[in-house]
Symmetry: C2
Subunit: 250 residues, 2 copies
């Protein structure tokens, strides 16, 4: 039976554009006595990827639209931040009171297009999500392979959700493993088909990783060891993103 170990990777320096994140994670894990091994799932917080990829917006350079200005004034928000949130979205899902729930260009449904005003390394700067989280995760996975370990990579972010208070970490990029585990066609011990059809293993792994990362400590990477993940070299988060046409809440 599966028995998992979940731990954080500490000791990474402040990340700057161009950093070789996978190599830094590989080294940091080794130096804390947790050298990565084949089969590990490496959970990388999107924030450090955004930093490594220079997804930093200087607010002084942003010219907000009339729409952004009017709405921001009403809710005492910085219209330049609102402008970036709008640019990072392809549709607004809810705009009620000061809340702006959007669908990002990638297809993620979340508050403020995942734009991050915290930990961006200075006033007047914000971080946007990586352009292609799957592609970056594949790059990380390849780099880990060059360094000698066959691992799955999941990029994570912290999202809210309908109906329930509190945020949880979810997967936004993936490489090497199928993000979904299917029970379709399988039967329980009584011969019934399963009510549960598919589990989003990737999101459950992301959630498990958050438990050791925390958001105050500087632990932007977690490792889950012992998972029996399904190898998929073509893995992509697009299989997790429900089509808008099939979705009842957009």
């Amino acid at each position: 039976m599966a028995r998992l170990e979940v731990f954080g990777v500490e000791g990474l320096p402040e990340i700057t554009p161009g950093d070789d994140l996978a190599a830094m994670i590989h080294a940091a894990a080794a130096s804390q006595g947790d050298a990565l091994v084949d089969g590990d799932v490496v959970l990388v917080t999107s924030k450090i990827v955004s930093k490594a990829e220079g997804r930093i917006v200087e607010l002084v350079d942003v010219e907000p639209s009339e729409f952004a200005i009017r709405w921001s004034e009403k809710w005492e928000k910085d219209p330049r931040v609102t402008e970036v949130v709008l640019r990072e979205s392809k549709r607004i899902i809810r705009q009620i009171g000061p809340v702006l729930i959007t669908e990002t260009h990638h297809g993620f449904c979340c508050a403020n297009s995942g734009v991050d005003q915290s930990s961006s390394g200075g006033e007047g700067r914000i971080l946007t999500l990586p352009v292609d989280p799957d592609a970056t995760s594949r790059t990380h996975r390849s780099r880990f392979a060059e360094l000698g370990v066959d691992v799955a990579v999941i990029m994570t972010d912290t999202f809210g959700r309908p109906w329930r208070e509190g945020q949880t970490d979810v997967a936004i990029g993936i490489a090497g493993m199928n993000p979904l585990f299917s029970y379709i066609g399988q039967h329980d011990p009584h011969g019934h088909e399963f009510r549960v059809q598919e589990i989003c293993t990737a999101d459950e792994l992301a959630a498990a990783g958050e438990l050791v990362k925390g958001n105050t400590s500087r632990v932007p990477v977690a490792v889950v060891r012992g998972v029996d993940w399904e190898r998929d070299d073509e893995a992509t988060m697009s299989t997790v993103l429900r089509d808008a046409e099939r979705d009842l809440f957009r």
Copy 2:
């Protein structure tokens, strides 16, 4: 830094009404060499609680309403099952095509009021969610304490969610620990207030537990060891359930 261990508890027999679940879990964990220790978080799948509490409905006893009959005929469903789903709900959130998303009497938003046609121990029977998952979890926690261990207890179920494919385990009952971890008023290393205000630790723990439980294997209990949970003897899932008035998706 936190380092977690996540494992399943195997070897539980088929559960029947009146079973002393906490004692059975305590014994099963010990007999597999994983005796529970203070600080463990014990994740109990709601299905076995429903069985222990006799939340079994014999469909032959169910008289479906006119509304249940008409809708079920249209979508080729058993009207008696639909009737139980409606009785277990306090409102219908979406009824589109064959999909019925409801809010249960407890306040959980999920498909079919959490009614379970699988693993219920026979054709013609279905399982409904426990009546008061917090109360049952508190009973389990007290029983574990009598057996000598101070543990947190989370009851879990497997729910879908808007926007994303695949289900994940979430918490539906809790005892001993605050289900939410708050960052409100705290600051990141750069002096910004956190964008993340609250993490739903209980749901992240439920998700971590599912990774070792699986839905095919008979592993209805998982333990997460090493979590630094916040003690709260008054803990309840009601703090996680967003008020309908504040919710943008009901």
